[in-house]
């Protein structure tokens, strides 16, 4: 079930640009130009661009992720138990699986929108 706009934790990044992709140890963080917004993808994200899918370990995966820097978020949604889905203005779609079978660290992702504002999936 997709969250409503009112409780969509990712709403703060809609209309904002992805400003940085940070590879931290064995997971990834994505920073957006909205102040203090950081999406931490413990389950590594998948990038879909021009019908090509880039997944962890695949050739070009990191380039595909970093290639999204500077693109604006057209839509962002949370499908509980399924995925976080971020659509960018170049047509790319970035997804983080929320399927517990894919969770490698007990949590799939966190999203911080500032001090004291944290969502955990």
């Amino acid at each position: 079930m997709t969250t409503s706009a009112a409780n969509n934790a990712l709403a703060p990044i809609v209309g904002r640009r992805l400003t940085a992709v940070v590879f931290v140890m064995d997971y990834v963080q994505m920073q957006f130009e909205a102040p203090d917004t950081v999406l931490t993808a413990i389950t590594l994200p998948k990038v879909t661009l021009s019908q090509h899918q880039f997944v962890e370990g695949a050739f070009g995966y990191r380039d595909a992720l970093c290639g999204l820097i500077g693109k604006s978020v057209r839509n962002a949604s949370v499908v509980e138990g399924v995925e976080l889905r971020i659509e960018l203005d170049n047509g790319a779609v970035l997804t983080v699986s929320l399927n517990s079978d894919d969770a490698r660290g007990g949590e799939a992702a966190t999203f911080s929108a500032g001090p004291g504002e944290l969502a955990v999936w």
């Binding site: 064995d26 660290g105 949590e107 944290l118 955990v120």
Partner: protein, 184 residues
Amino acid sequence: MEAVADSMDGDFVSMETGTGIHVDWEPIRGPQLASVLLRGGPAEPEKPAPDAGVLERALYALQVLLWSNSVMPGVSIVAAPEVLTVQAGTTFIGQASGPSIPVPNGAAGPMAVESGRGIMFVGGSAGASGRVWGVRVMDATDRYPHGYVTYFNNGNQTVNPFTGLPIPRSDPLWHIPLNPSTAP
């Protein structure tokens, strides 16, 4: 590495780390809850002082002991070549059963995690680097039937609570399981 506290006499504890290394530590009562002076060294005084590697292993054993046996005098650890100091945090989260959970000094909270599955304290400072910024105490999950604790820096990166440095998911301190059976 298994660590076992082998004696406790008043405020003085001698710990066998499971590697043949003895670590003597002495709680020091102060204005805060407690602090601990750790002196790593061999059991016999005539032996030379251990090198940094030995102390590092002893420190790790102590960490295991602190978490697994719930002898938790503090959260901040400063390591020096021959003296290790554990300083107490000022705030702990008590549990009905199980160990107290240290909160970084000065952290504000509790605040609800938006997903509703836990609470957190943020804006504090702890660890040898001072970069432990917050702690989350999360509800039970299939993987952690009694819940778990995770510490993070101000970039929302999971850190070792003792050093404040980022850690990978494979690190046992990534998510610290809560286990009522380890209550003191």
